[in-house]
């Protein structure tokens, strides 16, 4: 498989948007033994673009994200990521024997990692918890710490694998605001994997559906943020996306 050289593709090719792109994937395939999970995925993400990836459970969303993160090799196809990558997983994966601040600063190569970590913690509203042990955090706090650990690296591409799915509904709403806020401030390209159609519609510029190992559907969401769940445009998009995911609603079938 051709793992593209960072830096060489950016100027030569541009995404449809005209902006330089941070991710370019062509014909990506991934097999686990006999089972083909990704079967020719094409994907571009522009710099600073917020993309949501929907798909049924087991459709290969995490597999695609892990390939982008460099955690797994693809079986075939091209994949290039131009710039630095940070990941926040579904479980916060904080290192339990390092205090929250040390988790955020872990592996950070800047002159003053501690100060950078404190700044990132302040941005996610965890100023007070820098000295706490991860196991004493609530689910929402741990997920915010995990976001801070990803953002402090000032990534060009932020990969989020269902980071809110284990949180309660109220915390999730707070986290949506926080992610939008951080995205607007730092403008990384974001790939947000989710199985929550509303979450995708509220946050992303573009919503993709992964099905049958390919990007089976794509919707642009050209609405200003913050968006409202019951905006008429979103209602229509929601029905279309749910239909793509094999869920029929009253709206969808009407």
């Amino acid at each position: 498989m051709a793992q593209g050289l960072p830096g060489v593709t950016a100027e030569a090719e541009r995404a449809d948007t005209g902006r330089p792109r941070v991710v370019r994937v062509r014909g990506l395939t991934k097999r686990f033994g006999e089972r083909t999970v990704l079967d020719g995925v094409d994907l571009d993400i522009a710099r600073g673009e917020f993309v949501a990836l929907l798909g049924r459970s087991g459709s290969g969303k995490s597999t695609l994200l892990r390939a982008l993160a460099g955690l797994d090799d693809a079986t075939g196809g091209e994949l290039s990521v131009d710039g630095t990558v940070a990941v926040a997983f579904q479980e916060p994966r904080l290192v339990p024997w390092k205090r929250v601040r040390a988790n955020v600063a872990l592996g950070l190569r800047v002159p003053d990692p501690r100060a950078a970590a404190d700044k990132a913690l302040a941005e996610v509203g965890l100023t007070e918890r820098g000295g706490a042990w991860p196991l004493t955090l609530s689910g929402g706090e741990a997920q915010r710490a995990s976001l801070a650990r990803a953002l402090v690296r000032e990534p060009d591409l932020l990969l989020l694998d269902e980071p809110f799915s284990a949180l309660d509904a109220l915390t999730r709403i707070t986290m949506h605001r926080l992610v939008l806020d951080l995205w607007e401030r730092h403008r990384p390209g974001i790939l947000l994997v989710t199985h929550d159609v509303d979450e995708a519609l509220l946050l992303a510029d573009r919503v993709l559906v992964l099905d049958g190992g390919r990007i089976a559907h794509e919707s642009r969401v050209d609405l200003d943020r913050p968006r409202h769940r019951d905006h008429p445009d979103l209602t229509a998009l929601r029905a279309a996306l749910l239909a793509q995911l094999g869920v029929t609603t009253d709206e969808g079938t009407a």
Binding site: A69, G70, L71, V85, A86, V87, F89, E91, R93, V95, P96, W97, K98, R99, L106, G107, W133, P134, L135, T136, R149, R153
Partner: protein
């Protein structure tokens, strides 16, 4: 803050805080209650000795043992013996710990190391430790070496086995975190693997200290011209049960002391675990 609205769950979560003072008194009473039976045993023992039910040759009276202890401390016999034995235990422990931990790290961090080290260790650990004594005497004579070697061998295995399984038990998801944070191989070892293996390694440390004292006691029984074992054996020849019991008490106290040290170490090193008192 209003107490009238506190929910049952919040009450249930902090019962200790709400009734801190009576709880403390109750714990102290409980600690005192636990002393009753041992003290009663001492009294009965003393009375039995005084009444002539226990002869001096079978078991000396507690008061006799205490006064012997004072005598032996005063003339330096006891302190010298303790110093010699502690030195043997420490030397053996240091050697065994270095070998056990070093081999565990080598085997835990690479497949090559595992194939080179683990089968041998699994094979050797099946050997009965004390069954090796005759060989050790043939190889090392009857000086300090066989005693230190026996302790070292006894210490190495529990530390090896626990540290190795601790390293292998480290959460693979954290290894992925190290990868996406670009910690590099050494960073992975330093920040994730070794600290992750520490709780299990400390379990190994406690086991190995238990074995260390046991191995020392056995090794000192065989032939020694100094140390606690020598003191006990010597006393047996002269039917001095007071000195024999004193030696046993000192062995026990040393064992308890090192165990307490490990507990302290655990407490300090594992504060990150939820519920561990800070």
């Amino acid at each position: 803050m209003s107490t009238s609205v506190s929910s049952p769950s919040s009450l249930a979560r902090a019962p200790g805080r709400a009734r801190a003072v009576p709880g403390f008194a109750r714990r102290r009473r409980a600690a005192l209650a636990r002393l009753v039976a041992p003290l009663a045993l001492l009294v009965v023992w003393q009375l039995a000795s005084g009444a002539g039910l226990l002869s001096e040759r079978q078991l000396a009276a507690p008061t006799a043992i205490a006064s012997t202890a004072l005598d032996l401390i005063r003339d330096g016999t006891l302190t010298d013996a303790i110093a010699v034995s502690v030195r043997r235990a420490a030397a053996g422990f240091a050697l065994g710990a270095a070998a056990g931990i070093g081999l565990a790290v080598a085997a835990g961090l690479s497949r090559l190391g595992e194939h080179a080290v683990d089968p041998l260790m699994q094979m050797l650990r099946a050997l009965p430790l004390f069954g090796l004594i005759p060989l050790f005497i043939l190889w090392f004579g009857i000086g300090e070496t066989p005693k230190v070697a026996l302790v070292a061998l006894g210490v190495a295995f529990p530390l090896y086995l626990n540290t190795f399984s601790g390293i292998r038990g480290v959460d693979g998801k954290l290894a992925e975190v190290a990868e996406v944070l670009r910690l590099g191989r050494w960073g992975l070892v330093r920040h994730i693997v070794l600290p992750g293996a520490l709780p299990q390694a400390l379990v190994g440390l406690r086991q190995s200290l238990g074995v260390a004292w046991l191995a020392l006691i056995v090794a000192e029984q065989i032939n020694a011209s100094s140390g606690l074992g020598f003191m006990i054996n010597n006393a047996r020849e002269f039917l001095r049960t007071d000195v024999v019991v004193l030696g046993l008490v000192v062995y026990a106290a040393l064992g308890l002391l090192t165990d307490a040290l490990v507990r302290l170490l655990e407490r300090r090193a594992l504060t990150w675990r939820k519920g561990f008192p800070v």
